[in-house]
């Protein structure tokens, strides 16, 4: 970017900050995935009108614009791959209003997801989407990535709770989509189009979210299996028995071993799989459902079923699940967290394929995840500084995506496409499908200034994990 362009930016941003120091630019050059890309300038402002002016300038001068929340993206979403401006939206965190009568929350994009959870719960309500990163990620980032979480099984994902948005278009206009009503069929559903568009169609500056009453009680069941396939069968049986758990998580043997070696939590190291189920609703109903779930698991051949009796025991069980991520990086420093998702019936098959990929490439692969909705998290543990190993990992990742798509699944259940999975888009969507998406992008953003380099592969682009 030129001096004059920076000066023009400074002239627009009157209430915020324009950062150009080397240390600041490097501080906005990464996210929770891979690679370092230096922006030319980082802008922080809470003023929507100023932001709109900035986008107008960018559109005129063809400067790339990269919206950014808290950069917890695992797919390279906010990386400024072509330089230009990074807009730090995490500073827009002032608005968080809960309207009990309309059952909605009105928020600015920088509000942390956990803050919305808390505000809703204080009024006896619930905002269901709960990515594991909720205490750091912004709602703007969640909307752009259409984030999910363990509760997705029963309650769906972010898009199921957004009813209205305020957006700055790539031309710098401020538009409103949807509204405050749950039902709204006026014209194209732009709200849903923008949710999950990963910052390529505009900057979200306000959102209206739907809330639901908070379930009064919950119960947890842990079932341990000697055979992974049995665990898969138990999952299907539970889901077809008329019970809809709020969460259903799987840990494979490698995850259990890692947790036990890291912080002993009473998990069996010799079992092949463990499923952790949460039921929520009326206190009597959930107790009854917990019994039914336990029975199903035993019938299918669970070697042990545990139902926590105290709040502390319950907390400990979920804590063990949360420990998987930190536990596995003790093995090796680099963690490639995938979120390939398959239809529920294909979970056992996917597990088998993952096992084969692990052996074929001699990599350290751990499987856990939100198994109730088929959203597995195969995690590869490697060492970024080992070039040869990373090349094997790159091949293995590609094969994981292929397996998921072949089984009728998808590249991404919740982390988005970003930079990392762009090369595989055509494999899932087909040429015509991808072209349709490109035409939408073209219509919205003819100068391709909004988060360029994401979702759509550039000619010859390959997955690169080694620097």
């Amino acid at each position: 970017m030129t001096e004059a362009q920076i000066a023009a930016i400074r002239a627009i941003v009157k209430t915020g900050r324009v950062l150009t120091e080397e240390y600041d630019r490097f501080s906005y050059a990464f996210d929770a995935s891979f690679g370092t890309y230096l922006p030319d300038v980082v802008i922080q402002t809470k003023d929507v009108a100023e932001l709109a002016e900035l986008v107008k300038l960018a559109n005129r001068e063809k400067i790339p614009v990269y919206p950014r929340g808290q950069a917890t993206s695992l797919s390279g979403g906010p990386l400024p791959v072509h330089g230009g401006m990074v807009i730090d939206l995490s500073v827009m965190d002032d608005l968080l209003e809960i309207d009990e009568e309309d059952l909605v929350a009105i928020v600015s994009p920088g509000v942390l997801t956990a803050a919305i959870h808390k505000a809703a719960e204080e009024k006896g309500l619930m905002y269901p989407p709960d990515p594991s990163s909720s205490h750091v990620s912004t709602i703007g980032g969640n909307l752009a990535e259409n984030s999910g979480g363990p509760r997705g099984l029963k309650y769906g994902v972010t898009k199921d709770y957004v009813i209205g948005l305020e957006v700055i278009t790539p031309q710098g206009e401020i538009i409103r989509t949807g509204g405050r009503t749950v039902k709204n069929v006026t014209g194209y559903d732009l709200t849903k189009l923008i949710v999950g568009s990963e910052g390529t169609l505009g900057i979200i500056t306000k959102a209206i979210l739907r809330l639901i009453p908070k379930p009064p009680a919950s119960e947890t069941v842990m079932a341990i299996f000697d055979d992974l396939v049995d665990a898969g069968r138990a999952i299907s049986r539970i889901l077809t028995s008329g019970i809809l758990p709020s969460k259903m998580e799987l840990m494979d043997q490698a995850s259990m071993v890692a947790v036990e070696n890291y912080q002993p939590s009473g998990l069996p190291k010799d079992a092949e799989a463990l499923i952790l189920i949460e039921l929520d609703g009326h206190p009597m109903a959930v107790r009854d459902e917990a019994e039914q779930v336990s029975r199903v698991c035993r019938e299918i051949g669970a070697r042990e079923v545990r139902v926590p009796q105290t709040a502390k025991e319950k907390e400990d069980m979920w804590k063990a699940r949360k420990l998987v991520s930190p536990a596995i990086v003790r093995v090796k420093p680099t963690k490639i967290s995938e979120d390939a998702t398959v239809p529920r019936s294909k979970i056992p098959e996917m597990c088998r394929r993952l096992q084969a990929i692990k052996e074929k490439y001699g990599i350290h692969l751990v499987v856990f995840g939100h198994v109730g909705d088929g959203n597995l998290h195969p995690n590869i543990i490697a060492d970024k500084s080992d070039r040869e190993e990373m090349q094997r990992v790159e091949k293995a990742v590609a094969e994981i995506f292929e397996a998921a798509v072949e089984l009728g699944g998808t590249l991404s259940g919740e982390h988005g496409i970003g930079l990392m999975k762009a090369p595989f888009m055509e494999m899932e969507l087909g040429a015509a499908g991808l072209d349709m998406m490109k035409r939408i992008k073209q219509a919205w953003d003819p100068h391709n200034i909004m988060n360029p380099g994401k979702i759509f592969p550039e000619p010859g682009q390959k997955l690169v994990l080694s620097e």
Binding site: E22, D24, S27, T36, L112, S133, H135, R330, P333, K335
Partner: protein
């Protein structure tokens, strides 16, 4: 990779930065990220900058200086990090690298050398400082200075700090810490007491009370003469060689007594002492001795609690809040005992403040050298204090104690709220100390 870069990587602890998966879980825990609002001042941002230097992407190390200078070193980020990144070690080695390469101006160099090599390591110099403060106070120079408005003109806001410095102790009183104090009743443990340099110069009274309390709960207390500054200020300023020297001298000195524990009463010093094993890990001659020293180190609250706590007298009912010292919480991991001791006192209503684990902004000499940044953090903290409605703020570190006093002054709460060290508070509630331990000389 060229040799120079390789060497820099080793110096910077580059390998440790690689453990950071950039998840951002540490962002909400970092006080400077909360007050300054940019990634540059977050743990993840700082680690990334060091990493970039290690990869040769940032060529000029001075780029790292400001972001690292603004770090409090409170290490709250370490406590919340799911993957166990050793932020403290990264920070220390990066600072040392910068210091080594830095061309200080001549007067700066002289001042640094005077402070780090002559003043802090010398008990005599610290004693002199303490004496000077006493003379200054008693001769009325202080009153005069305050009246004249001179204090406001001092550089680096020293004037504001002057107002909160505790009443000095007379030289005669100061000399009176006995070498051995016998346990009351049956002896449970023998402890060696670490007096600390700043603690001893400015808070001698607290040291005296500490010895008394330890004896009260059944400890023989030994105070050896040739102990020295713990070296924390040196380490934080990147003067690693100096701090290693000090560590060795302390290890040597304390090896001369056969004690069950080495006890300190200053969170920051304690954090340094328990990490002597890290500091000297690469020194074959000292590593084992350092480990033994670190293993014996305890905060005074741990020993008091271990011996059954202090039996308080039925005093007036009072609402108290406890400002945790970062170094106690995040490095020594001592969190339960102080609360246990306070909760064990009759008629004390302990109210936890919001964000209790957040640093108060004192952080060694941070509040002197980064005054504005420090005050922003303090103002946040004081709001949480006020919300508790407490009349007494209990701390466990001299830096936090001074900072809380400064906070009270800033909020004009002097009439209603006071700040005391845990030891002072326990002594007062036990009837060992009369009156208000932290009464300020009236201006």
């Amino acid at each position: 990779m060229n040799e120079q870069l390789e060497q820099l990587r080793a110096e910077l602890n580059y390998d440790k930065t690689n453990k950071c998966v950039q998840c951002g879980y540490c962002l909400p825990a970092c006080p400077t990220y909360l007050t300054m609002g940019k990634e540059t001042h977050s743990p993840r941002g700082r680690i990334n900058l060091v990493k970039m230097a290690g990869e040769g992407k940032i060529k000029d190390l001075s780029v790292l200086e400001e972001p690292l200078d603004l770090c409090l070193g409170c290490r709250a980020c370490e406590t919340v990090c799911p993957t166990g990144v050793e932020y403290g070690a990264i920070l220390e080695s990066a600072r040392a690298s910068i210091t080594r390469r830095k061309a200080y101006s001549v007067p700066q160099k002289a001042l640094r050398s005077l402070l780090f090599k002559k003043v802090f390591p010398s008990r005599k110099a610290m004693k002199l400082l303490g004496d000077a403060m006493w003379v200054y106070e008693k001769t009325g120079v202080q009153k005069l200075a305050r009246k004249s408005g001179l204090m406001k003109k001092l550089p680096a806001h020293l004037g504001e700090f002057e107002a909160i410095v505790p009443p000095a102790v007379s030289p005669r009183e100061r000399a009176s810490l006995p070498r051995v104090t016998k346990a009351k009743g049956q002896r449970k443990y023998t402890v060696a007491f670490f007096v600390g340099c700043v603690m001893d110069a400015m808070f001698r009274k607290i040291n005296q009370l500490s010895v008394q309390l330890l004896a009260e709960v059944g400890c023989d207390v030994i105070v050896i003469e040739n102990q020295i500054c713990c070296g924390a200020l040196h380490a934080h300023a990147g003067e690693m060689d100096e701090s290693k020297q000090l560590a060795k001298r302390n290890i040597e000195a304390f090896a001369a007594v056969d004690a069950d524990f080495i006890v300190n009463n200053a969170g920051g010093c304690g954090a340094m002492l328990v990490e002597y094993d890290h500091l000297l890990a690469d020194d074959a001659q000292w590593a084992e001795r350092a480990r033994a020293f670190a293993a014996k180190t305890r905060d005074i609250s741990q020993v008091l609690a271990l011996c059954g706590g202090i039996a308080g007298k039925e005093g007036p009912t009072e609402r108290v809040t406890y400002q945790r010292s970062c170094h106690m919480t995040n490095v020594q991991k001592v969190t339960a005992e102080p609360v246990q001791l306070l909760a064990g006192l009759p008629n004390v209503e302990l109210v936890e403040m919001a964000e209790a684990n957040m640093c108060c902004g004192s952080a060694g000499i941070y509040n002197l050298v980064q005054y504005d940044a420090s005050m922003e953090i303090l103002d946040l903290k004081m709001q949480h204090v006020i919300d508790t409605g407490a009349v007494t703020i209990v701390t466990t570190n001299p830096g936090c104690l001074l900072q809380m006093k400064l906070g009270i002054e800033r909020e004009h709460l002097g009439e209603r709220v006071r700040a005391v060290h845990l030891v002072e508070y326990l002594a007062q509630r036990a009837g060992i100390l009369d009156g208000n331990p932290s009464a300020q000389p009236k201006a």
